[in-house]
Symmetry: C2
Subunit: 202 residues, 2 copies
Amino acid sequence: MLGAMPRTRNPKGAGQRLRGELLAAAVALLGEHRSIEAVTLRAVAAAAGVSPTAVYRHFADRDELLRQAIAWCWDRFDRALSVPDTGDPEADFGAQGQAYLAFAATEPGIYRVLFSHRAPAVADDHQPGAPVLAKLVDRVGALLARRGDARDPRFVAFQVWTWIHGIADLQGSHPAVGPMAPALLRQLALALDLAGPVSRRR
Amino acid sequence: MLGAMPRTRNPKGAGQRLRGELLAAAVALLGEHRSIEAVTLRAVAAAAGVSPTAVYRHFADRDELLRQAIAWCWDRFDRALSVPDTGDPEADFGAQGQAYLAFAATEPGIYRVLFSHRAPAVADDHQPGAPVLAKLVDRVGALLARRGDARDPRFVAFQVWTWIHGIADLQGSHPAVGPMAPALLRQLALALDLAGPVSRRR
DNA sequence: TGTACATCAGTGAACGCGCGTTCACTGATGTAC
DNA sequence: TGTACATCAGTGAACGCGCGTTCACTGATGTAC
């Protein structure tokens, strides 16, 4: 890929340019290998068309390089999930679900890496996925309020999240799930009484 | 662990004993590292208290050792899912769901490894998880029949599977999901009309 | 019963390789005079 | 305008390490005579 062309050295003030190229290369390799450990500093450098030692001008070590690459992935995921508010909570919820599954379908390796972390014993706020989850809780809260549904938004949000995560994760590894994903998403909203006629639950 | 004690050499006819010990060690390491690539032949040998070369008496190479270790994991998972048929499909379904989540909770690393494979372009029957899925389709079929529910058992089984996989996977990485798992499982059956009063769906 | 020997479980040294990291360096370029 | 120099992007050789795999071997033990 990038390593193929000889790559012209950056001009004097533009040393930061390589930093971005290294991060982009690391993210690409994370997606390809679907794993953090399999991404080597030397491979990232080679993909950016640069010698391994050049990496140390921008990152303290391999660990920092990969930590920042993963942070960049979270950022991309978070941005992919930012669907505009149209004032129709039901439609917005569906759009966000589609955006979630679309990201996981387009970047299955990266999606897997994002959720491959071991459970750290920290508060929910420090979890890397916290902004994503918060976004979901808000959306579900707005939707329940609009529908006059008295269920706990947090619990319902976890129902939505666990289910959509299962669809997202399996569509990347089980061939039958991918084509089913849109139907599964539609039925998810119905089964959880988040779309269609307001039901008995209050 | 095993490597600590000096280990007495197996008697003449019992060369196969080491084979089992190596597989057990490999499975343990797979669970610890939550990844296939991170498990080295040398580490497996050391855990079994044996020199690296001894592995080659039982497996052609590292690849075969790990392939067989993973097959053993599938077998364990499949056996964990074999809950007895009591004649009450509703209760059996709940028991199997609990068994599924219990396995993933007890062996989160192994569960993750089992579902970490890239999607191979083969028929469903050759998928490693095929027996598990087949078991689920059967159970769901029996349950729908008993409840006089005309939905497609295969589709409902995929709804169940994606959701339960999401719960199982996230309980191993997100601290808030674990304690919620039993409640999520109960509500799963209700939301999908697989428990409680038979609803409008036919 | 005693002994020679084939069998068999497992060892240990060695290989080439890719890894992360260090260190001293090169050479183009903007800037000060 | 010309030139010396400091700055800065990036290199290349070298290190110690753990990896998978090979090869020739060791030494205990069951068995045949």
